[in-house]
């Protein structure tokens, strides 16, 4: 038997509690911590997009978490019996309204998330306007360090990734042994280094400073230590640095001892 008047006020109460808990959770996870776990470390536009995505997704997730837990715990609080219940509960089954609402809202949410993801994916991958001064850098991962080659500067070679600020970069990445993953967390940028193939990723650093490359694919014994320093400097500083680097070391692109049966020329802009 459904005691409708008593329980419909329960529904109102649950919804209010749900709204309150959602707000508290959002505030707790998004607003209060001044530095939400690395989200303030933004040194490239794609990192800013990433931080925005994380914040928005958290704002959308907290009400879902609250919905599940508030309804479940409220039902427990209201319906809990001491020992085995002597009577059964009401044989409620979902009406058409609940079904349509649930399916509809979840589909709508997923569609919005998908659209958001597509928009930001295109922004991250977008090639810069033709004629902009793209800096090509070839990255070669090996067990267990990184090598960087600047083909536009006579194949200048370095263990340190030094780049000028505000200039679009196209990385061409490979490995000479096993899978690695080339990532600069401060730029929200990551792409695997695959032996025998080339992978590509773009970034435009917009903040000067020192960061680090870390390897994100388990590659054996010293995977934990496979790092390289990153320095984002002024264009003039970069120019003078790169001209002092040893040249002529085309790592991973037909260099000595490295098989090169794949790959277009190094100044491709993809």
């Amino acid at each position: 038997m459904m005691r409708r008047p008593r329980w419909s006020s329960d529904i109102k109460r649950v919804v209010l509690i749900w709204a309150g808990v959602s707000v508290i959770l959002i505030v707790a996870t998004v607003i209060i911590p001044p530095n939400l776990a690395g989200l303030s470390r933004i040194a490239a536009p794609r990192a800013g997009d990433y931080a925005l995505t994380m914040v928005v997704f958290t704002i959308l997730s907290m009400p879902v978490l609250a919905l599940v837990m508030v309804f479940a715990l409220y039902s427990l609080y209201k319906g809990r019996t001491r020992g085995r219940p002597l009577r059964d509960g009401p044989p409620l089954r979902a009406g058409k309204g609940v079904q349509i609402a649930w399916v509809g809202i979840s589909t709508l949410l997923v569609t919005c998330l998908y659209a958001w993801g597509l928009i930001f994916l295109n922004r991250a991958d977008a090639a810069p306007a033709p004629g902009s001064n793209v800096l090509n850098i070839d990255v070669t991962g090996e067990q267990w360090n990184w090598n960087f080659t600047y083909p536009q500067y006579g194949n200048a070679q370095s263990d340190i990734l030094e780049v000028p600020v505000n200039r679009p970069i196209l990385f061409k990445i490979t490995s000479i042994d096993v899978d690695h993953s080339f990532s600069v967390p401060a730029w929200a940028m990551k792409e695997d280094a695959v032996p025998g193939d080339f992978t590509y990723i773009r970034v435009t650093p917009n903040k000067m400073g020192n960061y680090s490359v870390r390897c994100f694919e388990l590659c054996g014994l010293f995977h934990s230590y496979m790092e390289a320093p990153v320095r984002v400097v002024t264009p003039a500083s970069f120019q003078s640095w790169v001209s002092t680097q040893p040249t002529g070391y085309p790592w991973g692109i037909g260099g000595a001892g490295v098989p090169n049966t794949y790959g277009p020329p190094s100044d491709v802009s993809k």
Binding site: R80, G89, L92, S181, P195, D197, T261
Partner: protein
């Protein structure tokens, strides 16, 4: 299998008859087979040049064959193939009904015995995997601390990962899929009882070979065993590859058995619309197992061939081999693995989801809120799980144009997952909640699985994944989803069905200590992983920068407490099996068929085939008769 009353085995008192064929003779012949296999080429070909890898594989083949011959399992397929099927007396003998405890140490075709064998084996696997987790966290307690060298640490994480995954996909399907599901659908056994026993024995052999890893050398690839890293590894990788291959074969064979049983052996009146939701969950999971494991089997075999016989599936040149490109590609290993790997994690989740959907109506005394959408949820997850695997490859550089598509399918799968939540929450709403231990794990499931699922949404967004792929955020996510669905589902199933399997309750006090200990310390251990991941800590690292030390030390300390809570569970199982409070046939007053049988369940499950006249969740509805005719003799009324 019709059983005649007079076909009873004579008392087998001689020691020889007890030991042969049994697990004892199986182990003995396994050792012999291993020694023969590792040496066979030198015996046959007189000491010619032979790589360690090839002889190891042959040794493992010998071990497995010796084990199966020794337990008496090989004889049966040979008889079947040569047309000399065993007669009824022989089939009856394989159930060893008069042997008491010893019948669990034989190649036994009774699904209830196999269920208990699975329970013991999977609990053992869980314990070893948990021990490895403690070793991992001990090593990560402080930055710079290296209790073991990095290659041993990497071996720990490889073993922990694969062993726990293997445990999670067997831990509900094995014990409860075997013991409970046939009874739940009104069948007297599984469709293929001898194949059922074979599955368990293959799993035992696979786990044994897997545990050779630390003794043969390190294996540093992680559970995903990407080539070409897998091909650089020492001999430990061979034990990994072969052991896992056997485990996957075991699961695939078991899955075929369960699917056939569910489709063909339901009792009259057990329509698809009256099937308990646990059976739907098992069905979805076994469909995925039967199809997806073929992909990883191919991957494992190809890595073995690359290692032992110098093929080039995954490498395109060898430093000391042919200078021409071998034509292989590293991406192939990732693609083959994840085509299996994604359905894998859903086949892990579905039995737990089924168990939760099964438990919630019993302890809310209400029908399932929306049976049809719950089934669509399970089947939707099953179907879509084949379409999403590319999300593991978002940053691999493999076909960047496909990333948008995989993002779409991955976000899509959250819709059927949501139906499951609607089913559970709707059943709880206005229910009369009987807060027992099985029900407690339902609440744990809700909290844990929703957090895991939501963090999965972050990972499904490609630009976000580019940052959080391969770091501790992912580790937090998958521990939440896997433990939330499979492990909490297992605990719920254990506390729920233990009285039916053993006739005793698990101790309540220890059970609540276990529950709260696990909930508190699991969350304190793994919530911090999300923070660490956002801070940029890569996963699978043996050492880390000092800025991560607060989170890592906290996680390690909490993990040790989590381990202690798990020890309470193991103690509870061991104690309660022998000395727990005795349970009657239907202590939870549930309406599914397994609770309408007496405890201990008779060997044919039902004296007469039951006829089903309604669904299993008719709580609160006026009814003239219980859901099944009292065909089982002493069925207990509600």
């Amino acid at each position: 299998m019709v059983v005649h009353e007079h076909a009873i085995n004579p008392r087998q008192t001689s020691l020889w008859r007890r030991l042969v064929p049994s697990h004892v003779s199986g182990a003995a012949l396994a050792i012999v087979g291993y020694l023969v296999g590792t040496n066979i080429t030198s015996i046959v070909a007189g000491g010619t040049d032979q790589s360690l890898t090839q002889s190891l594989y042959l040794g493992f083949v010998g071990l497995t064959l010796g084990w199966l011959i020794g337990v008496g399992g090989i004889k049966l397929p040979i008889q079947w193939v040569t047309g000399r099927d065993p007669d009824e007396a022989e089939a009856e003998r394989l159930v060893y009904r008069d042997e008491g405890v010893w019948r669990y140490f034989r190649f036994n075709t009774d699904h209830k015995v196999i269920g208990v064998q699975y329970l013991v084996l999977t609990l053992f696997m869980l314990a070893v995997g948990g021990l490895l987790a403690m070793l991992i966290r001990a090593n990560l307690m402080f930055p710079g601390s290296r209790l073991v060298p990095p290659d041993e640490y990497n071996t720990f994480i490889t073993m922990h990962g694969m062993l726990m995954i293997s445990t999670m996909f067997s831990i509900i399907v094995g014990p409860f899929g075997n013991f409970i599901v046939p009874i739940m659908i009104g069948a007297h056994d599984m469709a293929f009882p001898r194949l059922n026993a074979m599955s368990w024995h293959l799993l035992a052999a696979g786990v044994t070979i897997f545990l050779f890893i630390p003794f043969l050398g390190s294996d540093q690839t992680g559970w995903t065993t990407y080539a070409p890293l897998a091909e650089q590894m020492q001999a430990g990788a061979d034990a990994f590859l072969f052991g896992v291959l056997l485990i996957m074969l075991s699961s695939g064979l078991g899955a075929i058995n369960i699917i056939t049983t569910i489709i063909t052996m339901r009792a009259p009146g057990m329509r698809w619309t009256r099937l308990p939701l646990f059976v739907w969950g098992i069905l979805g999971s076994t469909i995925l197992t039967a199809t997806a494991t073929t992909s990883v089997n191919a991957d494992l075999l190809e890595i073995m061939l690359d290692r032992g016989w110098q093929t080039s599936f995954f490498v395109n040149a060898f430093p000391s081999g042919p200078t021409a490109a071998g034509g292989g590609q590293a991406w192939l290993s990732e693609v083959l693995f994840w085509f299996f790997g994604h359905p894998e994690v859903y086949l892990i989740a579905l039995p737990g989801i089924g168990a939760m959907l099964e438990i919630v109506p019993v302890f809310s005394r209400k029908p399932v809120f929306i049976y049809r959408l719950s089934v669509i949820g399970i089947l939707g997850i099953t179907a879509i799980s084949f379409l999403v695997w590319g999300h593991h490859l978002f940053v691999s550089g493999w076909e960047p144009q496909l990333r948008g598509y995989y993002m779409g399918t991955t976000e899509l799968i959250s819709i059927p997952t949501g139906f499951v939540f609607l089913g559970i929450i709707g059943t709880l709403w206005r229910g009369r909640i009987w807060m027992t231990l099985p029900m407690a794990w339902v609440f744990a499931f809700l909290w844990t699985f929703v957090i895991g699922g939501l963090t999965g949404i972050y990972l499904s967004d490609v630009p976000a994944d580019i940052q959080i792929h391969g770091n501790y955020f992912v580790v937090g996510h998958f521990h939440y989803v896997i433990l939330g669905s499979a492990l909490w589902g297992f605990f719920g199933a254990m506390y729920y069905w233990f009285p039916k399997v053993t006739g005793r309750f698990l101790d309540e006090k220890l059970g609540w200590i276990h529950f709260w200990g696990v909930q508190i310390f699991f969350n304190l251990t793994f919530l911090v992983f999300f923070y660490l991941g956002l801070e940029g800590l890569p996963r699978r690292v043996a050492d880390y920068a000092p800025k991560f030390d607060f989170g890592m030390t906290l996680a390690s300390v909490m993990a040790f407490f989590l381990g202690a809570a798990m020890l309470v569970f193991f103690a509870n199982v061991i104690y309660s099996w022998k000395w727990g409070e005795v349970a009657d046939a239907n202590p939870w007053h549930a309406k599914t068929l397994e609770w309408q049988t007496p405890t201990p369940v008779p060997i044919e499950n039902f004296e007469r085939v039951p006829v089903i006249v309604s669904g299993p969740y008719t709580y609160g509805e006026p009814e003239e008769e219980p859901p099944a005719h009292p065909a089982a003799g002493s069925a207990v009324g509600n």
